[in-house]
Structures are given as C-alpha cells and as structure tokens.
C-alpha cells in the first residue's frame, strides 16, 4: 500500500520561476568551483560549475577529498575488524551501516539471527531513519537561508535518539552495535521504556515540523518545480531511497526484500508525483511517520530471548569460499555490501555499494538549466554524507 497525493498545497506550475531568458550566444561562460569548502557541501566535495549568467550549463562533481580506501583496509583485517569502520561510512546512520554489513556476512555464512535481535535491529534502524530524515530536512532548510530554527528543532529530537543510542551501545554516533548473528548487548526493560517514551513524543515533533515548513511560502517557492528527476532516468541511474520514491517509483527494499522481519509490520510507502525538491522533502517527512508506526509496533511486540546466536563465532571464523551481496534500505538509499571469501579469515574482496555516491550520478541532469542558487538546494535534497561518498 502506498501513500500519494500528500501535498496539501501546490501552486500552479512555474509560479515561482522567472521567465527564462535564452542565452544569446555572446559573452563567456563563468566557471565556478563550488567547494570543497563551500558550506552547503556537507563536507569536502566540489562541483565544477559552468554558468551562463545565472544558469548552469555544465556541472561536474569532483570526489575523493575524504578517500581513505576503506575497502582495502577491510581486506587486511578479519570480518569483525571492519565492523567499527562501517560506522564511519555514513556517520549520521552508523546503525544501518552495521546492519547492512552484518546482513551480508550472515548471507555469506548462513547464520541465523534470534528474534529479539531482529526486533532490536528494526527499532534501532528506524530510530536512525527518523533522526537522519529530521536532520537532513533541517540541513535543507538551513541551506534555503532559514538559519537555525528548523535545524535546531530537528537536532532537539535527534539528541533524544542519540541519547538512547548512547545508553544502549555506549556511543552516540559510532555505535558498532550489530554482530554477525545478532547484536552485541541486550536492551534492558528500562531502555525499552525510555525508547517508548521517546517514540511517543515523535509524532508531535513531526506535526510541529510539518506545520512549520510544508506550507511555508518561501519553502514552496524555492523547492517546487526545482530539480525535477524523471522516474525512468532515476531507475536507470540507480537512484534509490527517498529520492527514487519522490520520483514516484514504488521501490522500498524493506517491502521488496522483506529482510529481517519487516514483512511483519504494517507500514506504507509514500510516493511523490513530481520528483522535485519539494517532493523529496515531503517524502522524508512522511517516511518519518511510517517509521514511527513501525517503531510503535516493534516496541509493543518485542519478545524476550537471547540477542546472539549461541553458536555464532565472532572472531577468527572462516566462511566457505563463495560470495554474497546483502543490501538494506538505509535512510539514504540502498546500502549494499558485496563480499567474496576465499576460505580465509579476511574477506578476499569487500565492496560497499554507497547510496550517496550513486545518487549523485544524476546531479548534473537535475541542475542543468537551473539557477546557481538552486544547485545548493538540489544537492541538499539528495542527502549525502561524504564519509560514504569517498570511502
């Protein structure tokens, strides 16, 4: 089941766009390097933009400022050794990175995960999604010029969720919590109660956030009809996550693969119908609501039991020769790990499929013909983390 037609107010097409003045072919192109220290790039990322007046005629992203060859590092250590490094890929959502890696190794070795651990994974994964979407909306609005307030609203909620992560895993952002065949430690009854309390407060936050932003005149003027991505191009270019669904393609890996125990929960997949920046912003807003639904169900149903497969061996295990590709619906898109084992204690090949990098493939297509000020918004609506783009 999907949700569409969510936009409460949408003005006629082109209402916020000045008439386009076609270039007369005279004059020179202005080449601008946006980044690597531009405040809107969320890190160190460069866009080499060629401008005709205010209009973008070419845009080439330049990567690699944060490259540390994560994949090579992982080939030099055993399977468990890379788990803390996966936290550093998308450092906003370390728990979903852990989950994707654990899932890939479990596919490679055929390990089972106890039921309580599956529930804990879902709870932590959805809390991660809520705080990622909240802060990414906050950053997007910040880049629109609304300094502070929406971002601080988002960070206020994120703070509560990070406190939960800290009390369970010992770390706010570098959680290093999931293991092959379960989770590292069990959650106490007190922690679950605290989580229920936080989740009970989230719908109020989303209502407030939506009231504040979704019908705001400036937000609508800056985002509607900007950076349109067509569904056929989105699928062909491998765009995943909220960006793909904002273009109207019904593809959520939680539904398609049903990995973990996601097919037990009742939730909907919000879809956009214009594929512009506004739709991406609203999709994140709606996905937070669906995550809260999943969280409420999971926190109600979580059974007692072990959180680790007692037969699971963490250190020094040698998977049989073979390979596995495991993927999950991370908050930013499809996060996959591709592992090849040659029978040794280290992976022969360890590959991360980074959603942030692949979602940038169509950045130029979305920006061509737009104003240079909109590049910042279009880029912000992709929602990337450079730790994952450059690896």
């Amino acid at each position: 089941m999907t949700v569409t037609g969510f936009v409460r107010e949408r003005k006629p097409e082109g209402w916020n766009r000045p008439p386009i003045i076609e270039p007369d072919g005279e004059g020179e192109l202005l080449e601008v390097a946006m980044g690597p220290h531009h405040p809107s790039t969320h890190g160190v990322f460069r866009m080499d933009v060629a401008l005709d007046g205010e209009r973008v005629v070419r845009l080439k992203p330049v990567f690699g400022y944060l490259h540390r060859n994560h994949e090579k590092l992982a080939e030099g250590m055993n399977y468990l050794g890379s788990m803390p490094f996966t936290d550093r890929l998308d450092y906003i959502c370390s728990l979903t990175n852990n989950w994707a890696y654990a899932l890939a190794v479990e596919k490679l070795t055929g390990q089972e995960v106890p039921e309580r651990a599956e529930y804990l994974r879902v709870i932590l994964g959805e809390l991660t999604r809520v705080q990622n979407h909240a802060s990414s909306i906050g950053f997007l609005i910040q880049e629109m010029g609304a300094s502070g307030t929406p971002l601080m609203y988002a960070f206020r909620e994120r703070e509560k969720i990070l406190d939960l992560f800290e009390s369970l895993t010992g770390s706010r952002m570098m959680c290093n919590y999931m293991r092959f065949g379960g989770c590292r430690v069990d959650a106490s009854a007190a922690w679950l109660d605290a989580a229920r309390k936080v989740v009970a407060g989230l719908p109020g936050f989303v209502d407030e956030f939506e009231r504040l932003l979704s019908t705001n005149e400036i937000v609508m003027a800056r985002t509607q009809g900007v950076g349109i991505l067509r569904p056929e191009l989105a699928v062909n270019a491998g765009v995943t996550g909220p960006m793909l669904r904002a273009s109207g393609v019904n593809y959520d890996i939680r539904k398609v693969d049903g990995y973990g125990i996601y097919n037990r929960f009742n939730f909907r997949v919000p879809l956009g119908d214009h594929g512009d920046v506004y739709d991406r912003f609203m999709i994140r807003m709606l996905e937070m609501r669906e995550s809260i639904r999943i969280l409420t169900q999971a926190l109600k149903d979580i059974p007692p039991g072990p959180v680790m497969d007692p037969k699971a061996k963490l250190r020094g295990f040698r998977p049989k020769p073979g390979e596995a590709y495991g993927r999950i619906e991370a908050p930013k898109g499809e996060l996959g790990f591709y592992l090849i084992s040659d029978g040794g204690p280290n992976p022969y090949r360890y590959r991360v499929r980074p959603p942030s990098l692949i979602n940038l493939t169509i950045l130029e297509d979305m920006c061509l013909g737009q104003n240079v000020a909109d590049v910042v918004l279009i880029f912000g609506s992709v929602d990337i983390v450079l730790g994952e783009v450059d690896r």
Binding site: F63, G64, H67, N69, E71, K72, K107, L108, T109, G110, L233, V235, N236, A237, G238, V239, T240, V249, Y251, V256, P319, K320, P321, G322, E323, A324, Y325, G326, R327, E334, G336, Y338, I340, S341, Y348, R349, R351, R353, L357, I358, L360, T361, I362, D390, R391
Partner: protein
C-alpha cells in the same frame, strides 16, 4: 524469481553465440552468477534490460584475481521486484589486456562505479563516456586496490610512534640518505 539457468537459456535463444556460462556459488547465499564474454556483453546487457526487465544496475565492483581482473555487476528488476542477478566479465590478463566493454550506455548507474573500478583496479572500460579517475587525483599513477600495490614511502611524523612506524621511519631515512 527466474533462475540463472532460465536466464542463460533465454540469452542463448536470443543472442546465438553469446557465450554466457554459469558460475556456481557454493556459499549459503546461493547467488549464482553468469559470466559473459566481453565481445557480446553489451548486446546481452541490452537484452537483459529491455527483454528481461533488469532495469536497475545496483552495484558494480572490480575484483583482482591472481591471473585476471574481473568486473561484477548486480542487477535487479524494479518492474518485477526481483533479483539479484550477478553478471561478471573477465579481462584477458592483469597487465596488458585490461579492457572490458562499458555497460554505462545501458545503465547510467555504472557511470561513477566504472570510473571507480578504472581508478582503483585499472580496468579500462571501452565506450565509457567520461573515463577519468574518481577518487584518486588525476596525476596519480597506480591502482591502489590491486593486491600487489606498494604504498609509496611517504613517512610522516606520528606523535605516538610505535614499532612498525619506527621501523618505517628508519627505512625512510636510510632511503633518503642513500638518495643524497
């Protein structure tokens, strides 16, 4: 979910002499793959996308084997909600003949990933629209993900130097002395 055998049979009926062979995967994941002959790979890829609706190339990765380089692609179908189908291509050897056909004209999502494979493994993708290094800088010479890659001797001061670092520093100084 169609099996690899069915897909192989469909390819062989449509493109005679395509030379696809099944690579079994003994691991519990059971993700068997299809190895394509580079000469027919683009035609097979187009057939997979247009006729068998594998419209979504999720992941492209390079692998460095002792005697060849390999490009591995994971395909999914958004329309039919199935997958993955793993396809792979091998180069003739690791040193001279490292060319493979690019699948970027079929699936746009391979654009940056093939650039990354070119950068880190040194596979040259023929037909790629913009084959440049992705993560390393343009003047960089080697391919760091190859297993025989040797790190450059660029020792830097480390505040908590320990055994391995100290040994490396000594080697660095000796090399510098010898050079002088």
């Amino acid at each position: 979910m169609r099996t690899v055998e069915e897909i192989k049979a469909a390819i062989e009926t449509a493109i005679p002499g395509a030379g696809a062979e099944i690579v079994p995967n003994p691991s519990p994941s059971g993700q068997h793959s299809l190895r394509l002959a580079p000469s027919h790979a683009v035609a097979v890829a187009r057939f997979l996308r247009d006729e068998l609706s594998f419209d979504f190339l999720s992941n492209a990765s390079g692998v460095d084997w002792p005697d060849c380089l390999e490009a591995v692609y994971h395909l999914y179908s958004v329309a039919l909600k199935e997958g993955p189908l793993t396809i792979r291509m091998r180069t003739a050897n690791r040193t001279g003949q490292v060319e493979l056909p690019s699948l970027t004209p079929i699936w746009r999502s391979a654009e940056f990933q093939e650039r990354e494979i070119f950068d880190l493994f040194g596979i040259v993708f023929k037909g790629h629209p913009d084959l440049r290094r992705l993560l390393m800088w343009p003047e960089f010479k080697d391919h760091p993900m190859r297993r025989d890659y040797v790190e450059p001797d660029d020792f830097e001061y480390e505040p908590t130097a320990h055994d391995a670092v100290l040994a490396r520093a000594a080697a660095h100084r000796a090399a510098k002395e010898a050079g002088r």
